[in-house]
């Protein structure tokens, strides 16, 4: 009897200890990013370009601008398409075509990001003849798409049928009912899906390796190669220069702060 109780208590402690141990890496990572990253972040860091190795100072302005533009391109493509497709799944979810679409959305969500990078390379970089921000944006849009489709479908399924009937009974047509009643009712969920999608792509490196490619200079031209925060972290982390490591830590700090902020913002929907 005592032995059973002992085993019971031991197991509970095992669960607690293992759970605690598994957050140690997180604490270590966040501590390192904070220690090495926060110190290098300053106003100049945000508005200056990276310096060549050997020179101190320099910033990551081109990567910040690049990440913002890449997210913008991806969102412009993925948000309307994803919301409409999610709406389609919510409205015509029982049809066979919808079942196929739902199936491929699940597949798409699991496709490794590097494979999406290859595809964007084949679709856009090869015909254009050079790397470009647009191709990176398309790759990121493909990654964002399943997140938005799924969150839109799940949110809209929860909108009660009665409010839609109320709208139809007032004489509003189908389009009006969807646009003015159903979508606004699900707006919070859809927006949180968009934010989660942005958080997912903001830190993606692999799909950008052969598309946006990276660029040590500032550019706003979306048909030219462009830098981004994750690409800069990758390139500078793999370099042997401590000064570039410092830039990578600073960029990590900004990227993690942004991604975590987006995740928290969406899951707790402070503003909705």
């Amino acid at each position: 009897m005592n032995f059973r109780i002992l085993k019971n208590n031991l197991f509970k402690w095992l669960v607690v200890v293992l759970s605690t141990v598994s957050i140690v890496p997180l604490v270590l990572i966040l501590a390192q990013i904070f220690k090495n990253g926060a110190s290098s972040v300053s106003f100049g860091f945000l508005v200056h370009l990276p310096k060549p190795p050997g020179e101190t100072g320099g910033g990551i302005s081109n990567a910040i601008v690049g990440t913002a533009l890449l997210i913008l391109i991806a969102s412009v493509i993925a948000v309307p398409l994803g919301v409409l497709a999610g709406l389609f799944l919510a409205e015509y979810g029982k049809s066979r075509f919808a079942a196929v679409v739902r199936f491929v959305v699940n597949i798409l969500q699991g496709v490794p990001s590097i494979v999406i990078g290859i595809t964007a390379y084949l679709w856009i970089v090869v015909p254009m003849g050079h790397f470009s921000a647009v191709s990176g944006g398309v790759a990121l849009a493909v990654m964002m798409l399943p997140v938005i489709v799924k969150s839109t479908e799940e949110t809209l399924k929860l909108v009660p049928y009665s409010i839609r009937e109320a709208s139809l009974s007032l004489g509003a047509n189908y389009t009006r009912t969807i646009m003015k009643v159903v979508l606004p009712a699900g707006l919070a969920g859809i927006l949180s899906g968009v934010l989660i999608g942005i958080a997912r792509i903001a830190g993606e490196t692999a799909p950008l390796l052969f598309t946006a490619f990276g660029n040590p200079f500032m550019t706003y031209n979306v048909v030219k190669p462009m830098n981004s925060l994750p690409l800069l972290i990758f390139n500078y982390a793999m370099s042997p220069y401590p000064e570039w490591h410092r830039l990578a830590w600073g960029a990590s700090f900004i990227l993690v702060a942004f991604v975590l902020f987006m995740n928290l913002y969406s899951s707790h929907s402070f503003f909705l």
Binding site: V101, V115, T119, F234, V256
Partner: protein, 293 residues
């Protein structure tokens, strides 16, 4: 009146078309991979899957080192992470379902899943690699620092949030009356966990493991940064290697020759097919579960 009728039709068409575009994107990905790897598929045939020599200089392309590297890192990562993710699942799904402790842990695993993989790689490179080098010196094996084991450890940390969030959900789904019946027979909580909760959440946990496996197989950046990038079959778990994803990341832009590029794209195709099958199985199991509840 006529106008509103038309706008409805237009709107519905737009919905169907968007669904069609999503379908076309996925078919397009598969089709592009097949078309652009056709040269390797044709010229190398099965040799691609059974040859262990990858030497672009002499035009030999065998994917075996990368398949082995991928399997080794993924399954080592799963094995390492499983006790931890199961513990978190039980912590959040059974022992501390509510309250501050569970909120903190929940929040922490959410944070962990949000950290970009390139940052895991950077951290692995500057923190884990020197640590591994010390451990390898102590163990009297060649002190590479980078290698299969280092990559597996980074991967293990990365997949813990996935396995545990699914595990938590399925453990919460275990019906209360089953547990109460076991308690009423005098079972301790450990016995309830062992004989009731784990068996009835088994298929859900399996789905969680499958989905994490799918993620581990395709993970690129963190692995590329710490695996050492060697194109030979790893001799031991400490040796450097390459996974399918990391060899694509490393060599894609170097591939100037047609057959070389085509072979790399075939690795991508292989990766696509494997992860698609694994994810499909995982989703099917999850769907069955949600019917049961």
């Amino acid at each position: 009146m006529m106008l509103s009728f038309n706008s409805d039709r237009l709107f519905k068409t737009a919905m169907f078309v968007s669904g069609g575009i999503v379908l076309a994107v996925v078919i397009g990905i598969l089709a592009s991979l097949i078309v652009h790897s056709s040269q390797a598929l044709r010229e190398l045939g099965l040799g691609f899957l059974v040859s262990s020599t990858w030497n672009p200089v002499v035009g030999k392309f065998g994917a075996v080192p990368f398949v082995i590297g991928t399997l080794l890192t993924s399954f080592t990562a799963l094995a390492v992470s499983l006790p931890f993710s199961l513990a978190i699942s039980l912590f959040l799904g059974e022992y501390f379902r509510e309250g501050r402790l569970s909120k903190v842990l929940n929040y922490m695993t959410d944070l962990l899943s949000g950290i970009p993989s390139v940052i895991f790689g950077f951290w692995g490179l500057l923190f884990l690699v020197p640590l591994m080098r010390k451990a390898e010196l102590a163990l009297n094996v060649p002190p590479y620092g980078v290698g299969i084991l280092t990559a597996s450890l980074v991967l293990a940390v990365m997949i813990i949030p996935f396995t545990s969030s699914i595990g938590r959900e399925v453990i919460r789904l275990v019906p209360q009356d089953l547990k109460e019946a076991a308690y009423s027979l005098g079972a301790t909580r450990f016995e309830v966990v062992k004989n009731v909760i784990i068996p009835s959440a088994r298929s859900g946990i399996a789905a969680g493991i499958l989905l994490s496996l799918g993620r581990a197989l395709g993970e690129t950046m963190a692995v590329t940064m710490v695996i050492g990038n060697s194109n030979f079959i790893p001799r031991s778990i400490f040796a450097p290697g390459n996974t399918m994803a990391s060899v694509i990341a490393n060599e894609f832009t170097e591939a100037t020759e047609n057959l070389y590029l085509s072979s790399i794209i075939e690795i991508g195709l292989l990766l696509f097919v494997i992860t698609a099958v694994i994810n499909y199985l995982g989703v099917i199991i999850m769907k069955k579960l949600s019917f049961e509840k």
